[in-house]
């Protein structure tokens, strides 16, 4: 009897109850996958040299995360504990192939630019991490929200880092020249691009700066040591 009433209250819970909205908004700041959970760093470093690939990558990850979380959450009672990694990787690989084909069909030039990195979504630990930590133990709608929220939190960091690196590294944004040509040293001006920004170590240091800013405003995230 008691379980029945619990189930009924669960059914009555509105789609965007406070708890569900928290699932969406938490990963943006308090529980950000990159700066707090430390998941999905590799691709954040690899594809943030320019803004455009970073945006496409973020959108692909939103799709793979949301669809993957739904599938895993539907299958969660059928997956044997011992072989769950292989099941999850098969689901991710199938979804990534789907994204790859869609990009090839409709956004061919971007897909060419991203080629390797789309394949690397398979090994993006943010997806496996959320499957393990959330979708294996929660319902379909909640898992969907968790997937969208986490992928969006990941995308926000990706876009911030790539704006920073593209602007200071090449003086452009989305491929459009923002710093006037006449400012450059080669044209008799005073400015030159910081080529260091294009090297991988600077991606790490930009993420560190984002963490610094975020934690200065959100002091409860500060670690003990």
């Amino acid at each position: 009897m008691s379980t029945e009433t619990v189930d009924k209250t669960k059914d009555k819970e509105p789609l965007f109850s406070k708890k569900n909205r928290k699932l969406l908004s938490d990963p943006m700041n308090d529980d950000n996958p990159i700066t707090v959970q430390v998941l999905g760093i590799c691709s954040a470093l690899a594809i943030t040299v320019q803004l455009k690939p970073a945006v496409v990558m973020a959108m692909s990850v939103v799709f793979v995360m949301a669809a993957g979380n739904i599938i895993i959450s539907l299958l969660r009672n059928m997956i044997p504990q011992r072989v769950r990694i292989i099941v999850m990787l098969t689901v991710i690989a199938a979804l990534v192939i789907l994204v790859d084909q869609v990009l090839k069909a409709y956004l061919f030039d971007v897909s060419k630019q991203l080629s390797v990195f789309i394949g690397l979504i398979i090994t993006n630990c943010i997806i496996m991490g959320r499957f393990e930590a959330f979708a294996m133990g929660n319902g379909v709608w909640k898992s969907f929200l968790d997937g969208v929220g986490n992928a969006a939190g990941y995308g926000v960091i990706l876009i911030l880092v790539s704006i920073f690196r593209e602007f200071f590294g090449t003086g452009t944004l989305w491929g459009i020249q923002l710093i006037p040509e006449s400012w450059y040293m080669s044209n008799g001006g005073f400015y030159s691009d910081n080529g260091m920004m294009l090297l991988p170590p600077m991606a790490l240091i930009s993420v560190a700066l984002i963490i610094w800013v975020q934690r200065s405003y959100n002091r409860k995230l500060i670690e003990e040591n």
Binding site: T35, V36, V38, L39, G40, I41, C42, L45, A46, R82, V83, R84, I85, I86, L89, T90, A93, V96, I97, G119, L120, I122, T123, N124, C125, I127, M128, G129, E132, A133, L199, P200, P201, M202, A203, L204, I205, V207, A208, I211, W212, V213, Q214, R215, S216, R219, I222, E223, E224, N225
Partner: protein
């Protein structure tokens, strides 16, 4: 023999998985709090890389590459299965990781609980898939070279994660600005270590 030593040293220092390609960062950052756990994860990565690279080498050369199926018979000579690369490589990696997870859980429950979610996450450690993909790209001439490369990359990851863990144990005694404590300063350290390791680039034995 010299060729093998060259591949091994190159995989550790010049083409270090972490510092030259920034692969495998997730577990690298999260499991480097103490030297002890980082030793455990490093050893697991050496094992998985050392096993998967030769297995994937065999798969690549006898199943996937164009004309690799010729040993089945002449009519298979122009079959090209290379579009299955990702799925087959990741399946091999995932099964090896599952094996390691069972072994660690059985023989070292403390290590198992301290590695937590990052043990199954070795399967999605980009360094592992990266190792197999680099092996494919560089087309090593025989399986010994491929295994030496796999072991070398594993040792490179091991060196990187243990070095970072040692630095982090020391940095606990320094007065880092509050918001940079933990993750933030670790990113900066890794960036500086990466710049330092860039000086190995171009060295040839």
């Amino acid at each position: 023999m010299q060729e093998l030593v060259n591949i091994f040293a190159k995989a550790i220092f010049v083409e270090n998985m972490v510092f030259a390609y920034f692969l495998g960062m997730c577990s690298y950052l999260a499991v480097s709090q103490t030297v002890k756990t980082s030793l455990g994860l490093g050893a697991a990565v050496i094992f998985v890389l050392g096993m998967t690279v030769p297995i994937n080498y065999l798969l690549e050369n006898y199943v996937l590459a164009e004309g690799a199926l010729t040993w089945l018979g002449e009519q298979y000579a122009d079959v090209n299965l290379s579009f299955l690369t990702f799925i087959l490589f990741i399946a091999v990696i995932a099964s090896m990781v599952q094996l390691v997870e069972m072994v660690v859980e059985k023989f070292s429950p403390t290590l198992y609980s301290s590695l937590g979610i990052f043990l199954p996450l070795i399967a999605v450690n980009c360094a592992i898939l990266g190792g197999s993909l680099f092996m494919q790209e560089r087309s090593y001439s025989n399986i010994t070279e491929a295994s030496v490369f796999g072991l070398g990359s594993g040792v490179g990851f091991f060196v990187a994660i243990v070095a970072l863990a040692a630095i982090r144990e020391k940095i606990r005694y320094s007065n880092v600005p509050g918001p940079m404590r933990g993750l933030g300063i670790t990113f900066v350290i890794t960036g500086l270590m990466g710049i330092a390791f860039m000086s190995f680039m171009g060295i040839k034995l």
